[in-house]
């Protein structure tokens, strides 16, 4: 147990940060309240710095996790992008209250202040995501997934004062509960089929079952229900319906959070769960690999997700809805990597998640950083001729949209390239072709995001777009856009890191080899 706690130090730091901000948020002194994002970002930074120190070979071996090094990559990426998300949310919550207090129109009242809670929820959700990467049993995985999601329901409701946000939060909550029920049922069936909740043991049980013929049907059904339930987290078909409504209802900064954090958690859960049952042609100690039923399920989900996402985005005029559908489509692309499995497939998913996190945050940062008559900009029209009035933000939007299309040499291109290579290597040619066609369709609406700010003349409506009150969302946008341009230079190193995260030999260690006995005796 101690070995596992060792890796939870980053989570503990972030959790400590969450407790701290929730208390500090009630302070009567404005300076302290304004420092909340700094505390939140600081705790993430501390976790970011600590993480690489924790993962050495000895501790990883002792912990005997399914994918021992996964946490290193995940936590570093999550903390890094988490800091950017904190920046984006700076100045969003309690804006009216704070300005009233500053103007002397109202007295600060801790009851109505929500900023501290908001950042606490944000950090808790990130904690849940980080916990997913360490999961070694079903209960842990379930709790980590729910810890990721539950705070986001509240964050959606808090993010804007309007009824729309509350409607979105309620929808999100109920549908989330439904999906949790589905994958919890799936987990229960998996337990029934294997007699254990520990993932490493489950893997051995399934391997033994496979040796005697086939993995039990109970396990297959359990796995399918788990996949479908988790599809909600990653906004994949047929559980994707909520995404456009919820993203539109939430503030842009929170929508960026929703597009990244639960999706990442869901993909991690899929990787861990499917690792127990293996992948075709890649699984080294059984010949069978991922059962055909699961392959077909994932294949259908991937095709449906990317197609519905891209087609759905075509008719939208709201940028948030476009980005919501685009978020659905990108989940479909990432499922190619999940299907392709260990090695390049999963490492490509991890790489793509980083790329998606950066380019998607950049796009939302433009929305969060600009406003029109006191509200966030919303429709495509608001972007018209942005180049003339806010050239930097226009640049950020163009870079992120091009990267989302997969325009070389931006980050999104490399992400897609590796996903597609993984798909081809695993033999899913048709799937990659469909994904390619989808990319072409997606260019239609992404190029709209390029055309409006760069080529159009500003409309009367767009003339009234001004900078938002807080500088930080725009700074986050600039940083992410710069990263989208610069990070491709380090593609190789990143891919090495993500390779190391998933290509852990431990995945393939059979229970009977000497190594694992040594490990067992060390315990």
């Amino acid at each position: 147990m101690v070995e596992k706690l060792w890796f939870l130090i980053p989570e503990m730091i972030v959790f400590g940060g969450a407790v701290l901000v929730s208390v500090l948020g009630l302070s009567k002194r404005k300076v302290i309240r304004d420092a909340l994002p700094i505390v939140a970002g600081g705790s993430l930074l501390a976790a970011l710095i600590v993480t690489p120190m924790l993962y050495d070979a000895e501790h990883v071996a002792a912990a005997n996790l399914l994918m021992g090094n996964l946490g290193l990559y995940v936590k570093v990426v999550v903390c890094g992008i988490g800091i950017l998300l904190v920046m984006m949310n700076t100045g969003l919550i309690d804006r009216r209250l704070e300005s009233a207090v500053a103007a002397g129109r109202a007295k600060f009242d801790p009851i109505s202040a929500t900023r501290g809670e908001f950042f606490a929820f944000l950090l808790l959700s990130l904690t849940g995501l980080m916990l997913c990467s360490n999961a070694n049993d079903l209960i842990w995985l379930f709790l980590a997934l729910e810890l990721t999601s539950l705070p986001t329901y509240v964050m959606v409701a808090m993010s804007r004062g309007s009824k729309k946000a509350q409607e979105a939060a309620v929808k999100y909550f109920f549908l989330g509960a439904l999906s949790a029920a589905i994958f919890l049922y799936g987990f229960a069936l998996l337990y029934g089929a294997s007699g254990t909740i520990v993932l490493t043991e489950m893997r051995d049980v399934f391997a033994r079952q496979a040796d005697f013929g086939d993995v039990s049907n109970l396990a297959i059904v359990g796995m399918i229900l788990s996949i479908l339930g988790i599809s909600f987290k990653i906004a994949a078909a047929p559980m994707h319906f909520y995404a456009p409504d919820v993203y539109q209802g939430a503030a842009a900064a929170v929508a960026a959070f929703l597009a990244f954090v639960p999706k990442f958690a869901g993909l991690l859960a899929l990787m861990l769960l499917l690792s127990t049952i293996g992948w075709e042609n890649h699984y080294r100690f059984t010949e069978i690999g991922l059962p055909p039923a699961l392959q077909i399920t994932l294949w259908i989900i991937a095709v449906l997700t990317m197609t519905l996402g891209n087609v759905g985005a075509l008719l939208q005029t709201s940028i948030k809805r476009i980005l919501a559908y685009s978020s659905i489509a990108h989940s479909g692309y990432m499922l190619i990597g999940i299907l392709a499995g260990p090695g390049l497939g999963m490492s490509a998913v991890l790489f793509y998640m980083l790329a998606y996190g950066l380019m998607n945050t950049a796009a939302f940062a433009v929305l969060a950083g600009l406003e029109r008559s006191g509200r966030e900009i919303e429709t495509l029209d608001d972007l018209a001729g942005l180049r003339q009035r806010h050239p930097l933000m226009a640049g950020v939007m163009v870079v992120s949209a091009l990267s989302l299309i997969g325009f070389p040499p931006l980050l999104g291109f490399w992400g897609k390239l590796y996903l597609f290579i993984a798909g081809i290597e695993a033999g899913h040619i048709l799937l990659v072709v469909i994904a390619g066609l989808n990319s072409a369709i997606s260019a239609w609406y992404y190029l709209g995001l390029v055309k409006m700010p760069m080529l159009e003349q500003p409309s009367a409506r767009a003339e009234t777009v001004v900078r938002g009150p807080s500088l930080w969302p725009r700074v986050a946008g600039l940083i992410t856009a710069a990263a989208v341009i610069v990070v491709p230079l380090f593609t190789r190193n990143l891919l090495k890191a993500s390779d190391a995260a998933v290509a852990d030999e431990q995945v393939f260690v059979t229970p009977d080899t000497d190594d694992s006995q040594q490990l067992a005796s060390r315990k």
């Binding site: 309620v170 929808k171 109920f174 549908l175 439904l178 999906s179 589905i182 049907n217 297959i220 059904v221 399918i224 229900l225 479908l228 909600f232 078909a237 047929p238 559980m239 319906f241 909520y242 456009p244 409504d245 055909p292 039923a293 077909i296 399920t297 259908i300 989900i301 519905l308 891209n310 087609v311 759905g312 075509l314 008719l315 390049l344 290579i421 081809i424 290597e425 369709i441 239609w444 593609t491 190789r492």
Partner: protein, 724 residues
Amino acid sequence: MSDALHITMLLGQAADSAHAWPIAQPTDGFKWAGWILYLPIISTILCGLCAALKVHNKLPAWITVGLLGGSFITTVALYMQYTEPVTIYLFEWFNLKWAGSEFVAAFSLYVDKLTLLWMLFVTGLGTLIALYASEYMESDVKRGYARFFAGVSIFIVAMSALVLGDNLVMLYLGWEGVGFASYWLIGYYYQKPSAVAAAKKAFIVNRIGDLGLALGLWLTYHYFGTIEYAGIFEQVQHITAGEAANLEAGGWYITAIPFLFMIGAFGKSAQLPLFVWLPDAMEGPTPVSALIHAATMVTAGVYLLARMFPLMELHPAALPTVAWIGGLTALLGATIGMAQYDFKRIWAYSTVSQLGYMFMGIGVLTTFGAAYHVFTHAFFKAVLFLTAGAVMHGFAGQLDLRKISGLAKMNGWKIVSWTMFIGCLCLAGIPGTSGYFSKDAILAEAFVTEGGGFKVLGWIAIITAGLTAYYTFRVWFRICTGPVHFEMGDEHHGDDDHGHNGHDDTHGHDQPHAPRLAINGVLIILAIGAVLAAVPNFMGNESEHVHGGWVGDMVAESSAAGGLPDHTKHGSILGIDPHSAMYVISALVGLIGIAIAWRLHMASRSTADNLRARLLGNPATRWLPTAMENKWYVDEVYHAVIRAPLWILGHTLYILDQFLLDRGIIDGIARIPRVIARMFQPLHNGVLQSYAVSMAGGVGLVTVLVIMLPQLREFLNGLFGGGG
């Protein structure tokens, strides 16, 4: 020719000309050599920042001069510490894994003496010309100054990558990079339509060459399995050692490699038939013409062929082709240059012509001569261009030979006139000057090397040398001697949309102003360099069997060593030793050319006009001056043969596209996703319950589908007769 015969010939030729030359080995040291590249990159970024922050002073110039100077010093340091060819690994650039095979390109440097020779003058001249430009461009301080210097810096970055890279992909990066920088700088005066057109022309013509290079690169990778020089050279040395079977297995395309590289080199170095962009490139600011379009970038083609010399020997016809293209380009450039009146353009055609000499040098197996001519030409042509720039700067863009006269007698123009004189002497190849020795190395070798009608080529080159001497001194006598007389140009610094306000001078717009310290200083340094460039020829040789002094040594230890003349078997010109014969013949030819120029353009200028009038008056000879003045109608021919058909094709396709494809097919297809989107829209109605039902339905559907899978499969099998 049968394959076997072909290969035997090829091997024979390769074995004859191959000296043993070392291939670079990897080293862990010299990591600091990377700063040759990094410093100009930093300079580019800083200048870019200056442009973004609207810095309106000379800061960008000093940044550029300082950092390029640093790069030059680093190069000198590398030269000082150089002992043997090495590759210096900096970092991995990209690494593509694809189904078991890998395509790796490292960012690493291939340092041998050929590299060093090129880098010394690239960074050295780059620094000097940036210094010159700091004064030349000063009227633009409030506008494009930072943009200009960012362009110069990025050019040096790209050129260094081209020369230093240890693999073909890095060379290609630099190749495209210099093309881009050249486009950027030719189009510097982007409000001027002619500059924009010239920039586009340069870029597009270069694309043709680039296509050749790209295909050559791909074939090389395909055949040799690597893009690193060291790996390629090892295999090529193997081939020359006698493994003919290897080559036969290679098939036809290995013999295509040299021709593809050649096309790339012809494009970048402005050879027939791709030379048309270079004269137009003179629309750029003059320092750019001097740096990019005379001294450095255009020699990239020569560098490519010298670096890839072992591959050039893969087909017996490759080198003779290079030689003939080079010789004909030299002649063509010189004849056009004779009949122009814009003297910056004359230098441009002269550059085309001199580049022709260099290619001829490569082709007739004297990479030494080619490299030496590159080296000397870089100096004296830079001098000539910069003097042209000084005149433009002072006379409001006036470049017409007929409108300026007696420059040497004007106040403050002495340095310009006499440095121009030195440059002219070198270009004309007067005995004792650097151009004389480097040109003779090529001319003599043309008579020595057997095959390909090289003797005929040699005589063409000698005639060209005479023409060169004539047009060179035609310019000098017209501009610098004679009665003092000038007309101001109608523009300023090649830019026509602003007045004279940027200057603190007291002359009006109708008075020339003489150049000041930066311009004069650089001219003097370069003129001294041009004179001293003759010295290496007399240095002793360290390597055996090599002559040609320092430059000979620089080439001997590189991949270009295969093209070094073998002096055990000399041919002859008219029965005399070719070198001594050539010293006499070319000196004579040069002096005759100068004498004619003196007669026509100094002693009695009316004679020249009479001669032209008489030629034009006679129907039998009218074509000669007309064709020469109109550049042999090459542009017009290209227009008729290439542009017009393309234009017609383009418009036909446009109409087809507009009415058939766009309206009919594309719009139809584009409507499909939107129709589908409308179909699915009702699903997204915003009602919670319907979402939940859809989700549950989806789950049920997928589960049932998967459970029923075996039955479904049986059913389908039954349906299609067991085929699936």
